[in-house]
């Protein structure tokens, strides 16, 4: 068994079919590749064939997945039949810095944990609050309030067999000045950390130093590359920084950016990390191509360092 098992964070937007029963007929509807990207049956088989035996779903998928499959359990079984486990779900803890939002933030976090349990997942990567623009800078009390919410959700998650991992975006109100402050304010027994390699590098953290400092807190990863580390405040605090007006990409497949991912793997070996790692392809124009490129890089460049 490898030290690390690999999953994909689902960025497929909506998938309209469970399974296309008459694939050839479908193809001849328009003679394009749309049929190849239209069913969960195919998507999960691509994952499985490329060695990604886990999937992390997104809350924005639920409105489509649930009517299509009828229940979380049905989706999980369907994925399992194709060799893929649901490992968890992303969660945004909106407005958790606001004292008057405490009950709502905790309730929403607990509901997300309940959903993950129904899907059979054990991870909930959690963005601690919303964007910096319109919210930041946070006061010390507001950062403490975020930590209080995370601890509360973390307690409930732990009791239900789920690990929550803080997951910071480069444009969040928890940002470079208070990123580590939040981590320090949370209970290490209840609140873990999901390193999104590109997000924290764009924010201004040094990936290798951050992992070295917090390796005991790391529950999982969102592995992706970037060529845009250490963006200035003017970018990170802007109104709409993630999707750029001209199509500029922040995020790239592992190996296509500038992060020292080989250095990260040497540290993973040093600290004996074992567990799941999700690859995230937000911004990719072709998720299947990105998945295949990533698999090649993993097998030929990264995994030999540790596995």
């Amino acid at each position: 068994m490898s030290n690390i098992r690999y999953a994909n964070m689902a960025h497929w937007k909506a998938i309209p079919y469970r399974k296309i029963k008459n694939f050839r007929e479908f193809y001849y509807e328009d003679n394009t590749n749309s049929a190849y990207y239209s069913s969960w049956d195919h998507i999960l088989k691509y994952q499985s064939a490329l060695g990604f035996d886990g999937i992390e779903i997104a809350p924005w998928d639920l409105a489509d997945i649930l009517p299509l499959f009828g229940s979380p359990e049905n989706f999980t079984q369907f994925a399992k039949d194709r060799g893929v486990s649901v490992i968890g779900m992303f969660h945004g803890a909106h407005a958790s810095h606001a004292q008057d939002h405490f009950e709502e933030a905790v309730r929403s976090g607990r509901e997300a944990v309940d959903t993950i349990v129904k899907f059979g997942g054990t991870y909930m990567n959690t963005c601690p609050t919303q964007n910096y623009y319109g919210t930041g800078p946070l006061s010390r009390e507001e950062v403490q309030q975020c930590a209080k919410v995370m601890n509360e959700i973390g307690r409930y998650a732990t009791d239900n067999g789920v690990k929550i991992g803080l997951h910071n975006e480069f444009f969040c109100a928890i940002n470079l000045p208070n990123h580590r402050e939040l981590i320090e304010l949370t209970d290490p027994k209840l609140v873990h950390y999901c390193i999104d390699a590109a997000q924290i590098a764009i924010m201004g953290e040094d990936l290798l130093k951050f992992y070295s400092d917090y390796h005991e807190r790391i529950s999982t990863f969102h592995l992706k590359d970037t060529a845009s580390a250490k963006q200035p405040d003017s970018v990170r605090y802007a109104q709409d920084p993630e999707i750029t007006d001209d199509g500029t990409r922040w995020f790239w497949e592992p190996g296509q950016g500038e992060l020292d991912l080989k250095g990260l793997y040497r540290l993973l070996k040093q600290h004996d990390f074992k567990g799941w790692m999700s690859i995230e392809y937000d911004g990719s124009p072709d998720l299947l191509a990105s998945m295949a490129l990533t698999r090649y890089y993993l097998d030929n460049e990264l995994r030999p360092i540790y596995d």
Binding site: W12, K13, A14, I15, P16, Y17, R18, I20, K21, N22, F23, E25, F26, E29, D30, N33, S34, A35, Y37, S38, W60, L62, A63, D64, L66, P67, L68, G70, N131, Q239, D240, E242, I243, T244, D245, D246, G247, G283, S284, P285, D286, L287, L288, A289
Partner: protein, 277 residues
């Protein structure tokens, strides 16, 4: 023919389903290039779907709600100026469907959220000087059934609350100088000609939307519908299809994608079976 009254709906771009390079639809550059192409094709008007999902997703490059337009252009007037420079001088209509708010078994949530965002969309339609605000009166039948398996028993309640919601919107639309039109998609609780008693119960200023393909799938004739309802048709969606619903696909969770036999339900006008001539 008044060519200014014929618009291209931005709904022609697939924003919701995955395909290679779909991600470009989230950036502003894609849409600003598209406006010029629409204009170059001989259309000076567009219709815009109002989709709150882009507000929650923070994808402000997609100009499909007031939040996105304000984020990228400051206000609706600036957006209209940008359209005008691109050769688009008219937003004929705004469309709205409440599917995303049917996500649990709480009807108060559904009607509350739908009412809030439909009012927001209607005000945005007025800001854009649109002629009409076209609303789908229910989510997919199959999506309602996911959370309300007793949908047939609750139809009366659902209809009464829908009438209340649409009645309020119709009054507000009148004040704003916009015509409220009710869509009759085949997948709706009020699909095809089932929309008629619903609109009968609304104020006279609420009009019908004639969607030719939806009517065809629901078993109706666009020509007959036009003839009998001409006085209260507020807008026409000129759509085409070859799809004949023999297996009650309209009641399924994803009715635009029939699960048993793959087909493109909607086709370009003139490439399907609807008698458009």
């Amino acid at each position: 023919m008044n060519r200014n009254a014929i618009a291209i709906s931005l709904d022609l771009i697939n924003r919701h389903y995955q395909e290679p390079n779909r991600n470009r639809y989230e950036s502003r550059y894609f849409w600003e290039e598209l406006y010029k192409l629409i204009s170059a094709s001989g259309f000076s008007g567009i219709e815009i779907p109002y989709e709150p999902v882009w507000q929650f997703g923070g994808r402000s490059g997609v100009p499909f709600n007031r939040y996105c337009v304000n984020t990228k252009y400051g206000n609706a007037a600036n957006y209209r100026s940008l359209l005008s420079v691109s050769g688009i001088n008219h937003v004929t209509g705004i469309t709205f469907d409440p599917n995303m708010f049917m996500r649990n078994d709480n009807l108060n949530f559904y009607f509350g959220a739908t009412g809030h965002f439909a009012n927001e969309a209607l005000a945005h339609a007025a800001d854009l000087d649109a002629d009409y605000f076209a609303i789908s009166p229910s989510p997919y039948y199959g999506r309602i059934a996911q959370y309300h398996p007793d949908i047939e028993n609750m139809k009366e309640t659902f209809t009464a609350r829908t009438i209340e919601l649409l009645g309020g919107l119709a009054s507000k639309a009148s004040e704003l100088g916009v015509t409220l039109v009710v869509r009759n998609e085949y997948w709706s609780l009020f699909g095809g000609e089932r929309v008629l008693p619903l609109v009968d119960a609304l104020p006279d200023n609420a009009k019908l939307d004639l969607d030719t393909a939806s009517l065809f799938v629901a078993g109706g004739s666009a020509a007959n519908f036009l003839e009998t309802q001409i006085d209260r048709i507020g807008c026409v969606h000129l759509t085409d299809t070859n799809f004949v619903d023999t297996q009650q696909v309209w009641k399924t969770p994803n009715p635009e994608f029939p699960s048993d036999y793959a087909t493109q339900v909607f086709r370009d006008p003139g490439t399907g079976s609807v008698d458009l001539v």
